[in-house]
Symmetry: C2
Amino acid sequence: MKGDILDTEIPEPIRKQCESKGGIKGIAKALPDKKKLEEQSQIFQALSDPLRLKIMLALVEQPLCVCLIKEMLGPKISDSKLSYHINILKDAGLIDGQRQASWIIYAPTKPGKEAVKVAGRL
Amino acid sequence: MKGDILDTEIPEPIRKQCESKGGIKGIAKALPDKKKLEEQSQIFQALSDPLRLKIMLALVEQPLCVCLIKEMLGPKISDSKLSYHINILKDAGLIDGQRQASWIIYAPTKPGKEAVKVAGRL
DNA sequence: GGACTATTTCAAGTTTATTTGAAATAACAT
DNA sequence: ATGTTATTTCAAATAAACTTGAAATAGTCC
């Protein structure tokens, strides 16, 4: 029945563990807020494509201009495609570009380096 | 002209730095292979949604059955939606479910814990 | 077995991400 | 100014991710 003393509604050990942490609401309240979650998940989103991850890993080794990133990825990739992906990394704050004469040289930001360091441990 | 001695084709300092690392090809060769990049980016992909990130952060604090995850997220979320997202985390190897009587209790795997630890640093 | 609860699966629709090719910008060299 | 190279932007097409509601499974309780 529904109206019973709700003992069996939830696994016992879990219920006790939850209560020692302020219950489900207590656990929920301790988590980052909506805005923070969105920021963090955007960073993960930027790294969620093998191509972009590869670009990040290369830039951590060595800052590069777009044409060298292109060479590193192989000749098949189009400029507009590459630019699209670079832009996603830039918007997420993981890389930053600096103009140098004809070229724009991209390098990882500090959070960019941090984020990539993790990948190695996964 | 195109046929010149190619000195100005690439920023000088970058070219030198690259060469000390085996050139662009040397840098590319030191990166993880296709399969590894796909695995790692799948993990980032799994964390690229605020809802899933929130679920992960909660499970790191406390393993929970689906109905408690649902309670934690608020009553509005549908069962099928929740199940969909849980499944993405499971497929990425970030969580693991264990049946206990009526319930399935999800807990982060070791890589799951590692991955979430990063989020805090971003 | 039959009713009930927890969870998953499925298919259809919607939204978001990605690719493509062409055109635009920006800097540099002549 | 013109031409050239590096890079970005745009719009249209394609593909992938996400949401929804209904139906299916699987376990528990009587």
